[in-house]
């Protein structure tokens, strides 16, 4: 009887270390952020009394034009990054999944950008896109074209960063979807071929539907990463010029660590957590409608 009971409890006991780690490193900071967000804490007051301000920080964020502008930038950045990363990653995964020579080597080469840290990627692209001395503008000038203000034109800068982010993030999508493609049995394609399906038809009626669980998780991940992403932007432009590349995550970082407005930073951070949760839930909802829940569970 006792042994049975112990056996029943034991798995939960074994979960305790993981739960403890999650509590210390995830739950506690989250609750701490909530606590900070309802107080007025800045670096100047951190060692003194923390004044309770209730929802004031949340309300002032709603009327903060800097935050509104950063949200707009975030929407464009996430939209652009996810779209480009996903479609390019999908194309690469499908192309390299064909029986072509050197596909494994190419796959390994394509993964390199993902293994490079975002900071190094940022610095590299900063030099490539430098308005005065960048290799890209040098090339354009050599071809007799006018140089482009890649990083100093507010209407251009965000797309320049999206390109850099695409270079950095696409390999993950490629790798993830390649794993999905490997899980599709070749027999399915052979059967389709016998039934007269063309490659295009196979792609749309076999590959895509069977890849859906992988696509879903990939989209959730790259969207969340793009929402939270800021190191590459920090290095490339520090949010400039004129805040044209200040995403909400970078706005949060600057408020908290550059200006020392910890409560304001916390509110933005909590807002971003909310955005991530809503996005993840929306994706799941969207795919459940298509009846892919089972496959998602398997993935």
């Amino acid at each position: 009887m006792l042994e049975r009971r112990t056996q029943r409890i034991q798995p939960y006991l074994l979960l305790v270390p993981s739960l403890l780690i999650l509590t210390v490193f995830l739950l506690f900071p989250l609750l701490w952020n909530v606590y900070l967000s309802v107080h007025n804490v800045s670096l100047s007051t951190i060692l003194r009394d923390w004044k309770y301000v209730g929802p004031n920080n949340y309300l002032s964020l709603l009327t903060d034009p800097g935050f509104h502008s950063s949200l707009k930038v975030s929407i464009l950045f996430v939209g652009g990054s996810v779209t480009l990363q996903f479609f390019l990653g999908l194309v690469l995964a499908v192309v390299l999944n064909q029986q072509i020579r050197g596909s494994n080597t190419l796959r390994a080469l394509f993964i390199i950008p993902w293994t490079v840290s975002a900071v190094i990627t940022g610095f590299s692209f900063k030099f490539i896109f430098n308005d005065s001395f960048g290799i890209l503008n040098y090339g354009l000038e050599q071809m007799g074209l006018n140089p482009v203000s890649w990083l100093s034109d507010p209407s251009m800068v965000l797309w320049t960063i999206v390109i850099a982010n695409m270079w950095h993030g696409t390999p993950f999508t490629m790798l993830f979807l390649t794993a999905g493609l490997f899980s599709i049995s070749p027999v399915v394609y052979e059967a389709a071929l016998i039934d007269g399906a063309t490659k295009t038809k196979s792609f749309f009626h076999i590959t895509l539907p069977m890849l859906k669980p992988f696509i879903l998780i990939n989209l959730i991940l790259i969207t969340m990463w793009s929402v939270n992403f800021f190191d590459l932007i920090l290095v490339m432009t520090n949010g400039g010029p004129l805040f044209a590349s200040t995403t909400a995550s970078l706005y949060m970082y600057r408020q908290a660590f550059e200006f020392g407005l910890l409560s304001k930073g916390s509110v933005v951070g909590l807002f971003l957590i909310g955005v991530n949760l809503v996005l993840a839930y929306s994706y799941l909802k969207l795919f459940r409608k298509d009846g892919t829940e089972v496959e998602v569970a398997r993935v």
Partner: protein, 462 residues
């Protein structure tokens, strides 16, 4: 429909295998535990014995900003003297040397977490923020007893004061001045003297840009990076303007700082930046702190005295034959007094220091002329104290550092930025105004008025 149960397999495996494994190998696990405990105890014993034998062992901890070499040299030289004064103690320094931005972050997080740190390097603009937060020790009484304040240049000593209390000792400084390549000016037919006035500077820019087109060198450098306000302030100051000024009637604080940079002087100063853009000078959003000048990417550059560090010290002798230096920012008209901005590093003792007296002793040794002067000479930094700047040490520095005398002469026209907690946000507002003017979005007056409105809000005026 398959039920999503990620734990099911693992739990059953654990129930079947792990419990059995633990019970069957209980003795083995117990022995391993004992062995590990004995090993841990054995490894700790010598350390504990050493601790008790050397009861007066003190390790001073420091957080300082890169480059590392300068601190290594300075700490090593000062430590020798400190140890001589305390032969009964074993004193060591454990320093963490970090990049500029990380230094501020690390100091802030350490102080907020009450980590004991004995010495920190503080950029002059951080002082007010740190002091206001209660992160730094009040050194007023120690400084008073030390009695060396009159040996500092006034601006430099005042830079370490916040709310009438001393929180930092300014160790060395830097000034921004105008540097030019002599051969490029010759080649383009521009007289260096013409660079001294606003109109001359703009006319020279046009002339040089046309002459240098296509050879990979640009005429003039104009900062468009995050520190662009730093290069605008000298124009504001030389016209008599101020960034902020004390004003009464503050809703909470009675008398407090109010943004005054949108004054007539400020607008005129920003107009000059606008005129530079109109003259074809392109604001540079990337900044390489003088490397771009050393690489001859620009013929003329307004940059700090650290620019010399981009030339190898063995080239310093005779460098004045190749590059010229005007110890001033361009002025509105001939005869006007120029201005410059001074930066540099202060040494402070955090409130969390557990060795405050010893840290103060180390700090005072580090700024002793005989300890500090060789470091300034090696790295080309400018002194903040008269005995080094003008006294016996100046001859050696003058012989080693190109244009040393000219740079020292700029200390007299040097200004420092306000060290108030809200400064980073105010600088961000000014930066926005400058960007708006660069990009032609707003006129200087409108841009500065809008920025000042935001700064007033930041300072709690509305």
């Amino acid at each position: 429909m398959t039920k999503f149960d990620p734990f099911g397999k693992y739990f059953s495996a654990i129930q079947n295998d792990s419990f059995g494994f633990v019970s069957q190998n209980f003795k083995l696990i117990l022995i391993c535990g004992l062995v590990l405990s004995i090993l841990a105890a054995a490894s700790l014993t010598p350390f504990m014995t050493a601790q008790s034998q050397q009861g007066k062992q003190v390790t001073l901890t420091a957080i300082v900003a890169e480059p590392k070499d300068r601190w290594d040299t300075l700490f090593a030289n000062a430590l020798v003297k400190l140890r001589e004064k305390h032969p009964d103690m074993t004193i060591n320094i454990d320093s963490r040397i970090l990049p500029y931005a990380d230094t501020r972050k690390q100091i802030l997080t350490s102080m907020a977490g009450k980590t004991p740190i004995d010495i920190v390097s503080v950029d002059q603009i951080w002082l007010g923020e740190f002091a206001e937060a209660g992160f730094l020790s009040d050194l007023s009484s120690l400084a008073h007893a030390w009695n060396r304040s009159s040996e500092w240049y006034k601006t430099n000593w005042d830079g370490g004061i916040y709310n009438d209390k001393v929180y930092g000792i300014w160790a060395w400084t830097d000034v921004r001045s105008m540097w030019y390549w002599k051969d490029l000016l010759n080649q383009t037919g521009v007289n260096p003297d013409s660079l001294k006035t606003w109109n001359g500077y703009l006319a020279s820019a046009k002339k040089m840009e046309a002459a240098l087109k296509g050879n990979g060198t640009q005429a003039m450098h104009l900062v468009g990076a995050s520190h662009s306000p730093d290069m605008w302030y000298p124009y504001l100051w030389m016209l008599g303007g101020k960034i902020v000024d004390q004003r009464s009637g503050h809703p909470q604080k009675g008398t407090y700082w109010f943004p005054t940079y949108n004054s007539t002087e400020g607008v005129k100063a920003l107009q000059f930046l606008k005129d530079q853009v109109k003259a074809g000078i392109k604001p540079q959003i990337d900044h390489f702190w003088g490397q771009e000048f050393a690489d001859k990417k620009f013929a003329v550059m307004l940059e700090g005295s650290w620019l010399l560090g981009h030339f190898p010290p063995d080239e310093w002798k005779g460098l004045d034959q190749r590059i010229g230096m005007i110890p001033a920012f361009p002025v509105p008209k001939e005869g006007d007094t120029s201005a410059t901005m001074m930066g540099g590093w202060m040494l402070s003792i955090p409130e969390t220091s557990t060795n405050r007296d010893l840290a103060w002793e180390l700090l005072t040794i580090m700024v002793q002329p005989d300890v500090l002067a060789p470091v300034l000479e090696k790295y080309g930094y400018l002194p903040t104290q008269k005995p080094i700047g003008e006294g016996a040490y100046s001859a050696q520095l003058n012989a080693t550092i190109p244009y040393y005398k000219e740079m020292i002469s700029m200390i007299g026209i040097g200004h420092s930025r306000p060290s108030i907690p809200e400064y980073p946000q105010i600088a961000d507002n000014i930066r926005q105004a400058i960007d708006e003017v660069y990009l032609g979005i707003k006129e200087p007056k409108q841009a500065l008025d809008d920025a000042a409105k935001k700064s007033a809000q930041v300072l709690g005026w509305s």
